[in-house]
Symmetry: C2
Subunit: 357 residues, 2 copies
C-alpha cells in the first residue's frame, strides 16, 4: 500500500484566496482534496488528489443512517522562512486508526495516509495563510458509503482529506472564557464511543452547547456520565487545572478523547520539572480548591485553540472566578511555547515538528 | 407549509422489480424519492418527488463530521384486496420531531411529511411486494448539509424519504434467537441520545454486535450505561419478558428508544386484560426468575421483525434457555395479531391502520 502512487488531477480553475482577516474557521476550502476508496476484499485503492468537489453518495449510504465515520483534525503552519510545519501528525493517524477500530472500520496505512496528506498540502501550499496565528486546518475523515439499511458495518468506505485555511483563534490575543458545568446532558460514557473521534459524540454535544450559549457561556464542562461528578472534558477540548502549584488533568478513563495537545502539554510540563498528574478529579474537589483559594488556573487544550484559558465556571448557579478572570501565567507560557514550536520560533526539543517538502 | 404543493418529476426509466424471494432487507430501492430543503430563516421549502438518485453534498457537510441527523423506520403493507396500509405512521413523524429536538434540528410539519410519504408511496405503489410477510420499508431521514467544520448546529438540512421493498423477516416462520448479555459496551446513557433515533447510537452499537456475532449470537441485550445492571433494549428493538404470568418491559428512562411496536403491544395486552407493567428490570431479576422456572417468555419488538422471540440469553458464560428455545404462546399471539392488523386480516380495534389512497 505505502508505495501505491497517488493519481493527481489538478483543478483547471483556481478559487480566489481569502484575505487573512476573513478566514474564520472551517468555512473556506482549498482547490483540491484527497480521496481513496475501500471495498471489503479489495482493500484501500485508487488514491487520488482531485479538485475540491461535492461527494456523490447513494441516499442509502450507511453514513447517513448509522453514522459510521471517524475523523481527525490537525494543522499545517507556515514559518517566517516559508517552511511548512505539521505538528505530530503521526499521532493523528494513529488516533484515526484507533477510532476506526471502535467503529468497526478498516485500518489505514498510517505512513501512506501521512504521505497523501503531505502531497495534498504541497499542491495547495499557497493556501496556507501566513498572518500571525493563522494556519491550514486539515480534516482527514472516513465515511461508510455502502447503500444498505441493515444496522451493520459497511463494506465500502471513502477516506478523504480536505483543507481549510483558518484565522487566528485569538484575534484580540489569548483570553479566558466562561464555562457552564453541565449537569444534565452527557457527551460520552465508559463503554461508549468517547475515546473515538466519531460524529455521534459531537451530535450528542450540540444540545448542551446550545443551552450554554443561550445562557451566555462559551462551552460546557462535561462530567462523567455515570456519577455526574468527575470532570472529563471542556467543549471539544481536554481540560487542565493548576491547584496549589500542581497541574492536574483527568486520567484517560475510557470516555475521554486522548488529545495530541494534552499529551504534548504533559510532556512539556515534565520537561520543565513541573508537577503534573493524570487522575480522577471531581467537580467537588475543584469547588473546594476554589473556596480555599488554591484554584490557580484552568484551561482547555486542543488543536484549534491550543490553550483556551477558563476565566469562570458556573456550577449550580454559583460563579467560580479563576485568576480574576485573567489568563494565567502557566496558560500563557504553554500557549507561547506550543505555538512557538509549531511556527518554528521556539526550539523543538521533542522533534514534534514534521516538515513538508 | 401543509398546503405547499409537492413538485413531481417522474423517472423516465423504471428499474426492474426484484422477485419476492430476492428481496432481503434495505438493499433495493424504488424508482423515486422525496426531498425537501431547509435553510435557516427561510424554513422548509421546495418539496419534490424525484427519481431515486445520488445525493450531491459538500465534503464539509456537517452530516459527515458531526453526525447531525435523525431518521425513522416504518412499513407499508399491501392487503389481499390490494389496499395499501400504513401502521400508526403519525407516531413515527412525532418521534422524528422529538429526535430532531434532541439534535438541535428544525421541526417538520408532521401532517405534511405524512402527506409527502403517501404521495411517494402512491407513485411507487407497484414496488410494494405482496408475498406473505413482505412489505415496503420506509426510511424518512433528515441530514445536516451546511458545509462548515465548526461544532455547531447546521443552518441547512435536507429531509428525504426513500423506500425499500423488503422480504419476510421470517422466511421459515417466526423463530427464537440467541442473545448475548452485553457487559462491556454501552449503547446509550441517561443525558445522551438514546431516546432519539439518530445515527450515533447505531454507530456505537456496531462493535458489540460484531463481537456477539463472532460468538454465534444474533444480537446483544443492552444494559444501562450507569450500573450495567438494568435491561434497556435488545439489538435495535425494545424488549419484553413474561415472568410468572406478568408481562414486563423496561420503563422509558431517558436512554431507551420509545418503540411504536412497544407502545402497540402494551395497548394490546391491556385490551386483552393481561397484566403488563413498565418498570426497571435488572438482569439479576431475570436470572432469578429463570432459576425459579418463572421466566416464561422473552421477546424483542420493532418495526422490522414485529416480534423477535428470544430462545436463550448468555450471561457471564451461563446459558439461560427460555421456553425450551421455542417461540412462546404469547409471542406468537402478539406476532399474529399485530401482523394481522397490519395486513388487514385481523380487526383493528384501535384504528391504527392508515390507508393510502
Ligand atoms: C472531544 C475532543 N476532546 C479533545 C480534543 C483535543 O484533541 P487534540 O489536542 O488532539 O486536538 C478534541 C479535538 O480537537 C476533541 O474533539
Ligand atoms: C434502538 C431501537 N430501539 C427500538 C426500536 C423499535 O422501535 P419501533 O417499534 O418503533 O420500530 C428501534 C427501531 O426500530 C430502534 O432502532
Amino acid at each position: 500500500m505505502a508505495d501505491q502512487t497517488i493519481k493527481i488531477n489538478l483543478s483547471e480553475s483556481k478559487k480566489q484566496k481569502p484575505q487573512s482577516d476573513q478566514l474564520g474557521f472551517g468555512k473556506i476550502f482549498t482547490d483540491h482534496m484527497f480521496m481513496m476508496d475501500y471495498i471489503e476484499g479489495k482493500g484501500w485503492h485508487d488514491p487520488r488528489i482531485v479538485p475540491f468537489q461535492p461527494l456523490s453518495l447513494d441516499p442509502a449510504a450507511i453514513i447517513f443512517h448509522y453514522g459510521q465515520t471517524v475523523f481527525e483534525g490537525l494543522k499545517a503552519y507556515v514559518t517566517k522562512a516559508g517552511e511548512v510545519h505539521l505538528f505530530r501528525p503521526e499521532k493523528n493517524m494513529q488516533r484515526l486508526n484507533r477510532s476506526s477500530d471502535r467503529l468497526c472500520m478498516p485500518q489505514l496505512d498510517e505512513e501512506f495516509a501521512l504521505e497523501a496528506l503531505k502531497q495534498l498540502i504541497i499542491i495547495d501550499k499557497d493556501w496556507i495563510p501566513s498572518a500571525p496565528g493563522t494556519s491550514l486546518y486539515i480534516r482527514p475523515f472516513i465515511i461508510a458509503t455502502e447503500p444498505y439499511l441493515g444496522v451493520t458495518a459497511s463494506k465500502h468506505y471513502q477516506f478523504l482529506i480536505i483543507l481549510s485555511p483558518v484565522g487566528s483563534y485569538y484575534k484580540e490575543g489569548i483570553h479566558p472564557v466562561k464555562i457552564l458545568v453541565e449537569n444534565e446532558y452527557v457527551r460520552a460514557v465508559t463503554g461508549g464511543t468517547g475515546t473515538a473521534k466519531t460524529a455521534g459524540n459531537y451530535a450528542a454535544s450540540l444540545k448542551a452547547q446550545e443551552v450554554a450559549e443561550e445562557k451566555g457561556y462559551s462551552q460546557v464542562l462535561w462530567l462523567d456520565g455515570i456519577e455526574k461528578k468527575y470532570i472529563e472534558e471542556v467543549g471539544s477540548m481536554n481540560v487542565f487545572f493548576k491547584i496549589n502549584g500542581e497541574i492536574v488533568t483527568p486520567a484517560l478513563n475510557g470516555s475521554i478523547l486522548e488529545g495530541v495537545t494534552r499529551n504534548s502539554i504533559i510532556q512539556l510540563l515534565k520537561h520543565w520539572n513541573l508537577p503534573v498528574v493524570e487522575r480522577k478529579i471531581s467537580m467537588d474537589e475543584i469547588y473546594q480548591a476554589y473556596k480555599n483559594g488554591q484554584l490557580e488556573e484552568a484551561f482547555g487544550t486542543g488543536t484549534a485553540a491550543i490553550i483556551s484559558p477558563i476565566g469562570e465556571f458556573i456550577w449550580h448557579g454559583e460563579e467560580l472566578v479563576i485568576n480574576n478572570g485573567k489568563t494565567g501565567e502557566l496558560s500563557k507560557k504553554l500557549y507561547d511555547t506550543l505555538t512557538g514550536i509549531q511556527y518554528g520560533t521556539e526550539p523543538d526539543p521533542f522533534g514534534w515538528v514534521v516538515k513538508v517538502q
